[in-house]
Symmetry: D2
């Protein structure tokens, strides 16, 4: 049983097959292939608007390149202090952005408090050249804590951001999970709510390595688009056999494949949550809206799960395996490859933990 991450499993077989099919013959390189054109077309339909898309291999590259394209080196990017860009990218936004600054904002469930955003934007840049200047708001939906922003919440934050001179970036590593969990359309959760740039992640939801950076309203964002292309190349992220990326994304977006995958991992996440709520001593500590749970497990239960070989991460990572001596805080993630059997087996272990000596 592996609940470590939605990238512990390989890609969906359909994606691999699509890569194999796309492999034959000579095609234009560096993105000049027919799959790339079709991806852009598909995305225009899905998002019901004009857009431009660029493909890269990792979410870190997608986020960092996107932010660097809309923020000068003296810009401030506002994000939640638990955001992936703040905690898991080893300073990639600062690197790609020529030394830009991330400003960490508070909020429950890794959702930014609008009041804090208003205050920070107001203070940032009030003294001109002495301070870095507001340049972007970065949201994550599904959040790092597995919670959802509603369209209304995104609208609220985007308005504050735009009024303060910021572009709005959405880290959509788990955007598919958010769409499914919310029942909203992709458009409603993105540009219709004020999002300017969406990093749409496929890797955690079926692809092998494929992320789409989507610029909405491309005419208005012409400068950012041009900047992105040079940054991508010079960042080593312009893949020569571009079909590797476009074939993945093309297959992933076909039909409702991408949403169906997210529906499956969400369902497993909810099954796990429902089961855990019935386990005495276990506390679910996040607003688990989709496929990610945070929980506090009694130490004895944690030990017995480890003894049974169940894989998951401690969160925060700075804990020891003993936690605070009473309980251990953990993160449990369901992927599209997680089976109901796995979830039920996990819950069975929780219901009857084996006794394990410390």
């Amino acid at each position: 049983m592996n609940f470590t991450s939605d990238n512990s499993y390989g890609a969906a077989p359909e994606i691999i097959e699509a890569m194999a099919r796309a492999n034959a013959g000579a095609l234009g390189s560096y993105g000049a292939d027919p799959y790339a054109a079709r991806v852009e077309e598909r995305l225009r339909e899905i998002f019901e608007t004009d857009l431009r898309v660029f493909l890269v291999t990792t979410g870190t590259a997608a986020n960092a390149l996107a932010l660097a394209s809309v923020s000068p080196p003296w810009g401030t990017v506002f994000c939640h202090h638990e955001a992936h860009i703040a905690e898991d990218e080893c300073g990639a936004p600062e690197f790609f952005g020529g030394g830009l600054t991330l400003r960490h904002l508070p909020g429950d469930n890794a959702k930014i408090e609008p009041e804090a955003l208003t205050q920070f934007i107001t203070e940032c840049g009030a003294r001109g050249v002495h301070q870095t200047q507001p340049s972007a708001l970065s949201l994550t939906n599904l959040t790092e804590k597995g919670a959802l922003y509603s369209p209304e919440e995104v609208v609220h934050l985007s308005r504050i951001a735009h009024a303060g001179g910021c572009a709005v970036h959405l880290d959509g590593t788990r955007f598919a999970n958010a769409v499914v969990a919310s029942g909203e359309t992709p458009a409603a959760l993105s540009w219709r709510s004020g999002v300017d740039i969406l990093c749409l992640g496929a890797t955690k939801n079926g692809a092998l390595a494929a992320e789409a950076v989507i610029f909405f309203d491309p005419e208005r964002q012409a400068d950012a688009l041009s900047s992105f292309e040079f940054r991508r190349k010079r960042g080593g992220h312009l893949v020569s056999k571009g079909r590797m990326l476009s074939a993945q994304m093309d297959a992933w977006l076909e039909g409702d494949f991408w949403l169906n995958r997210a529906a499956r991992s969400n369902a497993m996440g909810q099954r796990l949550a429902a089961g855990l709520r019935a386990v005495a001593g276990v506390e679910i500590t996040n607003d688990a809206a989709a496929n990610i749970l945070f929980a506090r497990l009694p130490l004895a239960l944690h030990r017995s799960l480890r003894a049974a070989g169940v894989a998951y991460y401690l969160e925060p990572a700075s804990q020891t395996e003993e936690g605070d001596g009473v309980g251990v805080r953990v993160r449990l993630v369901c992927s599209p490859s997680t089976s109901a059997e796995d979830v039920d087996a996990f819950l069975a272990l929780c219901a009857q933990p084996a006794e394990v000596s410390a």
Copy 2:
């Protein structure tokens, strides 16, 4: 009356005279002049230890170059969220440090809480390459809020930092004020308490533009020293007629000139604080240990001071001149050029504020 900053006034006449004296004839350029050698010698005596010193024109350059020399681009520098490097240098540390990250820590009076430092260092870097790594602790003494760290407090924080793999940097823009206010020796407030690099500021205390970056224990810090020299040149901070800087610093360090200057501004600050404490409705909001006061003034008093032409800054700068409609939060700084007459005139205005229509 000008209480805006300790850099609103020009330099001490003694400093200008020293610059004029040093101006004659041909001398080695780029730091190869006899004044530079004497500055290093003076500093060794003052700090009672071996050291290496580099001179630059601004505090921003001093801090940023120092931090870049001890932090890789994927390093995290821990600082108070009100520190000059966090709030007033437009991202200079991030720029010079190749995209390093500042981590803002809490604490009253702009002093870092040791518990927060321990926690942040523990969490930072716990997941290896996914996170930026602890690289430096940056303290400021006198703090941005005009408070003092005692040697014991510096020792405590330095130990946490060193144990976590961090170098300890001290922003000493007002180090002279801290030495005088604490009654401690320069050594006790720096290397004896664990400080590895001190940016000793003369500009706010009599010089025209001169800051010394001091590396203690230079043999151990040989790599940082070498890095610093290249960074300074490539940062455009290696002045060709080096005597411009060294003559200032040489004169400033002669005898107790630098400490006497600080003693004067501290005395004015304390005179101002004592007077303000007697003014009804005025609240001093910081631990005013030296020459900097933060206060909340009744709006009517603020208006009358402005009408009388008294200069000072609102703090935070994002306030309007109306504050919150009742009171206004301000910063009042005494420089060595502030006279007792100025302070007393200010207090007289406070005692009998003129009525001013809004």
Copy 3:
């Protein structure tokens, strides 16, 4: 017929099959998979020495990350003026290296003249901090002009570089072609001749997107290795489903697959060269040792090839399709997917060019 580049075709079917096989089940992510370990083992056998290897998706990333790991921001990297890092990576080394400097050296066939290297290293850095300092020599073998460095030539240049304080980097995008064409061992063309870091390219020779950065003598290069890991992550080049890269490289290195592929493209290149030498008016302008030819074609021939739909690049790209009005300079590249039929059909077109109106 497509002679544009060795990356116009997809991957070898064997590589795609290996990716598909490696796709099943949950594995350690970010490089902690069994394929990655086996790749390192295979490379130790192939190169007959200890080494450490990191995988990335593009040659640009490989080169830039490698150079940044051994060069400070004030370093100078010496390379041929036609090198990929100088002409085709949009400044990636400068970006990853924090603003390092490339110094372009002359030489026929894109091979660096040793005398020029000696002179440039001697002059660079002679004035201390005023100049950037020698930090790396970057060679390319097979060169951008399709020529070979012999082991003796690499030894000669490496000695000059090491004596001048430079690490030696080898851009091995077509290293397999060089090994096959020279009849030398991989070791003889790399570490035994002084190479410290080899970027071994698989993408142009059968893989979909996989490049190996190999550090020889890893104990000595411990600092560069550590730096590389942080730079890769923060550059967005640490792929989460690491098996994507390691499975490709593992299959590519199995048996003599990688060398057999190179042998095929080299053979096609030589067949093309031999045929072209017999065509009146065509001049082969490079020392075509493997699979890359540079030629000057009569304008009429060029037009008829274009009319027949043959794809290849003008070189330099700044030419128009009319060249200088008499002839056109072109680059012709054979890939492992180039067939003898394609080559022969091309030569047949050359023997009897159709008349095409301008």
Copy 4:
């Protein structure tokens, strides 16, 4: 006798006196002082056009900040291979420019050959995102080799640059010398000939440390201006007591002080050149139009000058004091502080060199 550089001497006494006068009282800091406003006014008169000016302490900072303001990180700056930005600033343009690229162009007397510029601009960027893009042409007048560009030459090069999408930057460290030597107006040698940004140096011509970065046609260059201000602050080059810089520049520009100074050093340079031409065995190797001479001295003469304590630099610096065993190549620079007596004494030594054993 010191012929090492025009920055070996201190500032003109008039400059020091102006600094002393400007030192009294409280003034706006960070450039908000009356001297700064007057400098801008004076420059508008001198250059007969609208402009914006920013002051910094070093020529390296001026050049690097200016270039970074008009070049993206993926830009190419074209300069002569002997330019100060290429050879003497330790990579400052690359650092401030976020990893931009300098392209070294050939030409006698450190003047760029127009044909080379045309060719390089044409080739650079012909392949889109794979290459860095033309962004700026950087000229130096007076050149590093002491020669002059005429207005016609500047026009010619500027037209090529502008047509290729480049801004035109002029390193005017010795612009005053060029104005005097050419008999042209400041306007004719700058914006009227196509220069967009001029770094006007005072430090080598009487100031202690003051350089003016002048943007012509400020409305058109609004983006670069805004960028410059943030870059200057974050580069640590915004001096708090701004009068330090503005008082120097104000006094330097008063009347014809700056041109008179240049006239004096030019006159000394010509006196030296005339005298040396009469010395047997000495070869003047540059087109010595102003105050800088390059010469090849017989080894015996060089030894006797050294023995007499005459100071000058070898050029290139990589020579030993023995040169090539027959002659030594040297640079001789006259500053405004160089006296006719010094020049004549030097020439007397040349006429009758003492015999010195090797």
